[in-house]
């Protein structure tokens, strides 16, 4: 008994050490990217607390935390019920190694890492959750919803596979009403018109700051390192929204100053890259890091832990309780371009819009090994981007550091290719003018 206990503890400590080391090293690399804004540090501190020190997310003691997955769980409802949402989609390499034992080989690493977290019980953010809210999105999420149910009270949300008819959204509305009653049971608080409206306001505030921030992110020449931005977006998962929004406000103020002083981070002819595809979850932030370390400018991301998580605002048309619930159901399904939806042409339009807005030169299509839904969409994306004369590279990776060198070579080559292309274009234009 004692021996078993000791072994468990030892194993846990080992994993903790290993996990903390990986997270710390990525944090260091993020901070080492030059010209990091000072106001970005609190965000990285949050990541450090959660991933290096394994502390719980910040919340008041009487508040319950609710673990969420994917981006279809309305955080507004959790705040309205007096809870604090924690996004539990994991990027931990250590947890991935643990989860590998329980999850089939071909499942995606994110799911393995989530299951691993459930098994090794090292993350307080996960352990202290009173409820897990899992939307039934892709096959892997569907299965872990069932598996997590053994570990923790779990509520599953049926996300409609299509969104063509109004009945699909009505169905999700019913799911949200069910979520409300589960949340109320968990937290003991009522979700009322008042609390829901207030939480919509709060998240709206975060979205307001985020929309201001996008201006600096789109800046040409670049003002910011995209990897740092992605870390900031990741930190949203572990911070109370008002704190995040307030800190974002400070960051915006600093960026405004930088913009007025024209303190750009480097030469302006660097290739501007957009990353899209499978979620980039801290500490699995190697692909963005590689892009920037190889001289690319990561100016935009279309991933569900990045811009997509907060981009679309809730549009309340009618301010009754039902009206707000409808607005939530609409906001978390209709504009969502997650590839789990059957017809996801929307993602193409979104990418097209982002390429135009962020002046993107090339697209890195990130696919986690086993993430089929994103892989399905690569083909159509390639055709579309080919028609737009935007180079695209498919980058497949796993939750370990073994493929880093291979990725480095491919990304470097891709960036060089864009540089050459831009150079040829400039020369052509120069010839025409001269």
């Amino acid at each position: 008994m004692t021996a078993g206990y000791n072994e468990d503890t030892r194993r846990k400590e080992l994993f903790e050490k290993k996990s903390a080391r990986v997270a710390a090293s990525y944090l260091r690399r993020i901070k080492e990217l030059p010209d990091m804004p000072k106001e970005m540090e609190p965000f990285l501190d949050v990541l450090e607390n959660v991933h290096v020190h394994f502390s719980d997310v910040e919340h008041e003691t009487q508040q319950k935390t609710v673990g969420t997955f994917c981006i279809m769980v309305p955080n507004e409802l959790i705040y309205a019920a007096g809870g604090v949402p924690v996004r539990l989609c994991s990027g931990s390499y250590t947890a991935y190694a643990v989860g590998d034992e329980t999850v089939p080989r071909d499942a995606c690493p994110l799911v393995k890492a989530v299951m691993g977290m459930g098994d090794i019980r090292m993350s307080k953010a996960f352990e202290n959750c009173s409820l897990l809210a899992v939307p039934i999105t892709c096959d892997c999420k569907k299965k872990i919803a069932g598996m997590l149910k053994r570990v923790k009270p779990t509520v599953m949300l049926h996300v409609p596979p299509m969104k063509g008819t109004d009945a699909d959204m009505e169905q999700y509305l019913q799911e949200l009403y069910r979520l409300v009653s589960v949340l109320e049971k968990t937290t003991g608080n009522r979700v009322t018109e008042q609390t829901l409206a207030e939480s919509i306001n709060q998240i709206g505030y975060a979205q307001y700051e985020m929309s201001r921030f996008l201006k600096y992110r789109r800046c040409d020449p670049a003002l910011l390192h995209g990897t740092q931005v992605m870390a900031v977006m990741n930190s949203y998962a572990y911070m109370p929204v008002w704190k995040w929004a307030a800190q974002m406000g400070r960051l915006n103020a600093e960026m405004e100053k930088r913009l007025s002083e024209r303190k750009f981070i480097g030469r302006d002819n660097q290739p501007r890259i957009l990353i899209t595809g499978s979620p980039v979850t801290f500490p699995n932030i190697k692909v963005p890091l590689l892009i920037e370390e190889m001289g690319g400018r990561l100016v935009a991301d279309e991933t569900c832990l990045g811009e997509r998580a907060l981009y679309d605002p809730v549009t309340v048309v009618d301010n009754s309780f039902d009206g707000m619930m409808r607005a939530l159901a609409g906001r978390y399904t209709r504009p969502c371009d997650c590839p789990v939806f059957v017809d996801n042409k929307q993602r193409l339009y979104r990418i097209r819009q982002m390429i135009k807005a962020h002046k993107v030169d090339g697209v890195v299509y990130h696919v986690l090994r086993g993430c089929l839904v994103y892989d399905y969409e690569y083909k159509i994306m390639e055709e579309e981007l080919g028609a737009m004369d935007i180079p695209v590279i498919r980058v497949e990776s796993d939750y370990n550091e073994e493929d880093v060198e291979q990725l480095r070579i491919r990304i470097e080559a891709f960036i060089e290719l864009i540089k050459l292309k831009n150079y040829a274009k400039q020369k052509k234009e120069g010839d025409r003018h001269g």
């Binding site: 008819t165 109004d166 009945a167 959204m169 009505e170 019913q174 009403y177 069910r178 409300v180 009653s181 009522r190 979700v191 009322t192 018109e193 008042q194 409206a197 207030e198 919509i200 306001n201 709206g204 505030y205 979205q207 307001y208 929309s211 307030a246 406000g249 400070r250 103020a253 981009y311 679309d312 605002p313 549009t315 309340v316 048309v317 009618d318 301010n319 009754s320 309780f321 039902d322 009206g323 707000m324 409808r326 607005a327 609409g330 906001r331 209709r334 504009p335 371009d337 042409k345 929307q346 339009y349 979104r350 097209r352 819009q353 135009k356």
Partner: protein, 597 residues
């Protein structure tokens, strides 16, 4: 699913009920003013109206259903002859006729005194004077079609028609190119010449409505005088107030219906998850913390326009005492032409009574009205071509009424009925039924005005007494419907549909930039007309459909830069921006400073 089935059954029932009851519309009385001529009381008055020059006159007092008569010469009045238009022809009333009116009287009354010999022009020679007076009252007053007597006993006749003109008839023929002296209510004497069709054109509306005397002398020795009294009351009179009574009845009943519907709805959806919980909803009229307001000058302008439209199409004409200021100009909006005091003509009467429009071109209406008809059709077409349904969004008084009901519902924190695409599809049947009734009902011998809910509002506001029949019941449904569903009537308005048909040529257009759209569906949720194409469209720039009111709600709710815009002649005048959308969530200035420190 359940909701949609209930809805489809309701719509089907409404279709059947409307079709059947439309044929009995006039028999389903909701409010009866008692406008029959036999309901009028007749009294003598000694007060001489300012415009009366003849020795006999009619007057109405301040309250409805009273006809006063007055005279200066009692002997002459005793021998006076009374003539009345009845549904069975025009006839002379027996002696003492004022006490015994035939039951089928139409409310056009002429009294003629026997010949009198008075020196009018003061040249020392007495002229032969025929004094007469005419009154148009009851339901038949203000009839746009000339109500002529054409009797041998009436040598000189004035006929009010076309809402602002007087036709002069002498010996039952149109009196052309003749000089007339008119004495108006303010004591002015004016000279007018009739045109080639015997019309006095240009006599101010106010002068006609307040009573005037026309004097005609064919040869200088015979003089004909007629005092004309239309039943008309000032704006601030009990009569005008009383005209609003049926409106209050309709509003009261519609609130009862709203309460009933809400109670039934709560019962039906009792088990529908956590939908209806009293403690979940804010109290009636309680404040709402949600930041809904974004500064939108555009929507403010729209509200101003709507109020102006309501005011102009109902009250304005009466208030300035001019009646229709521009009655040749036909502005398509769903006000009611039975309210004769609109600022402009509303063409729905002639579209729903096409046969009447053709009558205007017929022999009964000589050239003069051909011009009228052409101007009417021309302006109507021009408005539909150039403006189209933006008039629905910006000018229609019915639109304002519905928007106000929607505002009221928001204040009461009652949840709306959301029209899903399936519900909208079944509602289209009702719309087509309305269109068929609108254009074709007249051919089956029906009268669209008896089923038109707009008549309830506009005429009452204009101060015209209108009996409510089926249209009163429909108005109750309209009010209750627009309480739960924004712009409920617009979803099935036949007039609006016809106005939207020529949207291609409109100056104002709704454009979409498909690259900027994220497909969040906010526009669709905001659209009162439930146009789904605006959110699903991915190729075309033009997303304006025949249903689009151009109300700008979608642009107001759109969070993407330039995704939706309202254009005027191709130039955007109102665009969606993310900044305008999201800045409502920004903290107040003090909080912002705090955050920065």
């Amino acid at each position: 699913m359940k909701k949609e089935k209930i809805w489809a059954v309701l719509v089907a029932l409404a279709c059947i009920l409307l079709t059947v009851s439309a044929f009995f519309a006039d028999h389903l009385s909701l409010y009866d003013f008692g406008m029959e001529v036999s309901d009028y009381s007749f009294d003598r008055t000694d007060e001489v109206p300012a415009g009366a020059a003849a020795t006999v006159w009619f007057d109405y007092g301040t309250h409805g259903r009273n006809l006063f008569y007055g005279y200066t010469d009692e002997d002459a009045f005793k021998n006076a002859e009374f003539f009345m238009r009845t549904s069975e022809g025009n006839r002379k009333l027996p002696d003492g006729g004022l006490q015994t009116f035939p039951a089928d009287s139409l409310g056009n009354l002429i009294v003629i005194l026997p010949e009198q010999f008075i020196d009018i022009d003061g040249d020392g020679k007495e002229e032969t004077v025929r004094n007469s007076a005419r009154a148009d009252f009851g339901a038949n007053a203000f009839n746009p079609v000339p109500q002529r007597f054409d009797m041998e006993e009436i040598p000189f006749e004035l006929v009010f028609a076309e809402r602002n003109r007087i036709e002069v008839r002498y010996q039952n023929e149109q009196l052309t190119h003749a000089d007339l002296e008119i004495l108006t209510h303010d004591g002015k004497k004016m000279h007018y010449q009739t045109d080639e069709n015997g019309w006095i054109d240009g006599l101010a509306q106010r002068d006609i409505r307040y009573g005037f005397t026309a004097v005609y002398s064919p040869d200088g020795e015979n003089v004909y005088r007629m005092y004309y009294a239309l039943e008309d009351y000032p704006f601030f009179s009990w009569h005008t107030m009383e005209a609003h009574f049926p409106l209050f009845v309709v509003i009261g009943l519609s609130f009862l219906l709203i309460a009933l519907v809400e109670i039934v709805r709560r019962k039906i959806f009792k088990n529908d998850y956590a939908r209806i919980h009293k403690d979940r909803h804010g109290g009636l009229l309680s404040s709402h913390p949600l930041k809904m307001k974004t500064e939108s000058k555009f929507l403010l302008i729209r509200w101003c326009f709507l109020w102006f439209g309501m005011f102009a199409m109902t009250y304005l004409g009466k208030l300035i005492g001019q009646g229709q200021a521009a009655n040749k100009v036909a502005v398509p909006a769903f006000a009611c032409p039975f309210n004769l005091d609109q600022a402009v003509e509303v063409p729905c009467y002639y579209i729903s009574h096409i046969t009447h429009l053709f009558v205007r071109f017929g022999s009964d209406y000589p050239v003069h009205n051909l011009v009228y008809g052409l101007i009417f059709l021309g302006t109507l077409l021009l408005f539909i071509l150039l403006f189209g349904r933006i008039l629905c969004g910006f000018l229609c008084p019915m639109g304002l009424i519905q928007d106000l009901m929607d505002k009221l519902r928001r204040m009461l924190h009652i949840r709306p009925v959301t029209v899903t695409d399936k519900m909208n599809f079944s509602l289209q049947t009702l719309k087509w039924l309305w269109i068929i009734l609108f254009v074709g009902f007249v051919f089956t011998g029906g009268d669209f005005c008896s089923i038109c809910p707009a008549k309830v509002f506009a005429t009452a506001q204009g101060g015209f007494w209108t009996n409510l029949v089926l249209n009163g019941f429909l108005a109750i449904f309209l009010l209750a419907g627009s309480f739960f569903i924004k712009r409920f009537w617009c979803l099935m308005c036949p007039m609006g549909y016809l106005m939207g048909l020529l949207k291609k040529f409109n100056l104002f257009k709704l454009k979409k930039d498909c690259t900027s759209c994220t497909g969040c569906g906010a526009c669709y949720e905001a659209c009162p007309m439930r146009i789904k194409g605006i959110y699903t469209e991915r190729e075309k720039e033009n997303v304006q459909t025949v249903d689009c009111l151009l109300c700008g709600e979608c642009i107001h709710k759109c969070p993407e830069d330039n995704a939706l815009s309202l254009t005027f002649c191709g130039k955007p005048i109102y665009k969606s921006t993310r900044k305008a959308f999201i800045s409502k969530y920004a903290p107040k200035q003090e909080q912002k400073k705090e955050a920065e420190e």
